[in-house]
Amino acid sequence: MFTHIFIYRFKCLIRDRQLVFWTLLFPILLGTFFYMAFSNLNNEETFKPIDAAVVNDSAYQQDSQLRMVMQSVSKGKDRLFNLKTASNQAEADNWLKQDKIDGYYTSGEEIKLTVKETGISQSIMKSFVDQYRTSSSAVTNIAKKNPKALQNGLLKDVGEQRSYTKEVSGGSAEPNNVLNYFYSLIAMACLYGSFWGMKEVTDIQADITDRAARVNMAPVHKLEAFLAGSCAALIILFVEIMILLAYLQFGLNISFGQRTGYVLLTALIGSVLGISFGAFIGAVIKAGEGLKIACLIVVTNLGSFLAGMMYMNMKYLIATYVPPLAWLNPVNLLTDAFYALYYYDSLHRYALNMGMMVLFIIFFCAGTYLIVRRRKYASI
């Protein structure tokens, strides 16, 4: 009997084109759009040397200290400037007009910075020259008061940069903010699986559909029919999530880290979470199918928004200001579980997310069971 119901429920579900679109094609399309929109986001965050120039006039020639500093920050892979040397101010102005440089320095009693517009590069150039002035002034003052300091390594000390905050990496992977968009997309796809769960409950509750009433009249235990249908729904959803994961990993090169087994386990738990959530909503809300669908869409999309799918910082704002909400949002739990697998070496955070999801699943399943097990209805 289980197999008979399973096969036909599988056929019913897989032939529901609307559901297949929303649970498989829509996340794939959205993932593709994300990829097109965010593929350069990480590249834009890497620092590029600033195109700068210095006017090579007599003042510059005489200021050996500045020349030395400018040369040192314009060398190597991590250089600050792509430095050009203009023979005179007119040439530097010409480069500036042609946007060949972001700004140029002119030596003198005070080093002058000339820019055409304001921006990040110009701000960095200004900060550089300010720091140079401060350091230079400090060295001059100390040398005047204590000439021996120069012999005791003053220049070395001034030139040395010290950071008083220590960066501790949570894992061996490179931090990647863009991944959060894709992980929350997978989480959303899992929660869209709630439509499958709702359909199963709808077709088993005699007070909801006539089909269900007919099933209730058959000599079949209602929970057996429900379990067979739910298994069919779970298999379909899990395969859909696998297809989505494969597309993201192999089609769009989205990294999921090295722990493939855990990633699959997360996808499975996410699928169970989606199905059980839909079944719970389907059972709890007694109003029409439209209201149930609206409820699922609102919860899933709001959860996705709060998990950072539309605005990346939202996830961190919620974690900072309303942390309980982060733990009560199933989409966030799934998103965070995927990110924890990718980024952290430790499984502690991952286990916390998975534990919360399992609690949610137990809650949804218990609630659904208590409602669905009812054998007679007060009204049909």
Binding site: M1, I5, Y8, R214, A218, P219, I380
Partner: protein
Amino acid sequence: MTIVMIVNDQRHLPRCGCSITLSTVGEELLPLIIHVKNLVKRYGELVALDHLSLDIKEGEIFGLLGPNGSGKSTAINCILSLLSYDKGEVEIFGRKMAPDAYDIKRDIGIVMQNVAVFDELTVYENIDYFCGLYVRNKAERKRLVEEAIAFVELDDFRKFYPKKLSGGLLRRLNIACGIAHKPKLIILDEPTVAVDPQSRNKILEGIERLNAQGATIVYTSHYMEEVEQLCSRIVIIDKGRVIASGTNEELKAMITLGEKITIEAFSIDAEQLRQMRELPGIVSVEHIDKRLIIKSGKGTNNLETVLDFLKTHQIGFGRIYSELPTLNDVFLEITGKQLRD
């Protein structure tokens, strides 16, 4: 008279093999298939079933007739243990009906008022799915499904999805899903609602054939013509109460009306109307929209008298026709309202 006895004749035993209540119909003892006693169902203040009692015997086509909202579907759902009820007893095949009484359910087929099939499954798959909930053996199930398809004449549509079927074909599919497993008791809850006359006739013929094959039929409807045509015994309910029961003839014998004469395109003055009301055997005369409706009592043929009256008084008239009382007249006389109100 109703007696209770153990039946030794295995042909009449349901598969659960339990004791059966028997009832007399004339000289014949027939097992009771459904026994309902004092069923009460309330929706808050509204009493949907008010101490409803029914006895349905094996082999009959039992009609449950009543206007919309009279409690027919509620009664069926309570009998089938889909709905909870406040008070009363329900026995099917002599055994208390319950949601987990699978032995009883195995022998029941239900055809819902609304079409209850899956849009994602073809005609064949729908019938096979519902039949499979009752019959595990694949070969037997295949045979039963083929028989059901042939029975409702859907052979040319077996690979069609329900959305591609007309209303009448859908109703036939709905019936096939309910009867494919060859149940002993078939409950049809208004199966011809919104069906064209041709499909309706096919459905009614099919029900008669099912009955001829040995199934007991419970047929609910608010279409009196169908119930008159089909049912061997009829119960009329209103506001959740049985207001009359018996055969078609027995029900009509309960009322005073014997004949209804209608005269169209009619013009008559008040004095002539008064004189006509005083004619022997006439129960009532109503003048509505240029039509004269004359009701007469039983055992008197007043058509000739009325025609004589019209000729004597030189009253012109158009079409004239006479009708025997219908179940609607029975309902009207008992409740004071039309069956289709």
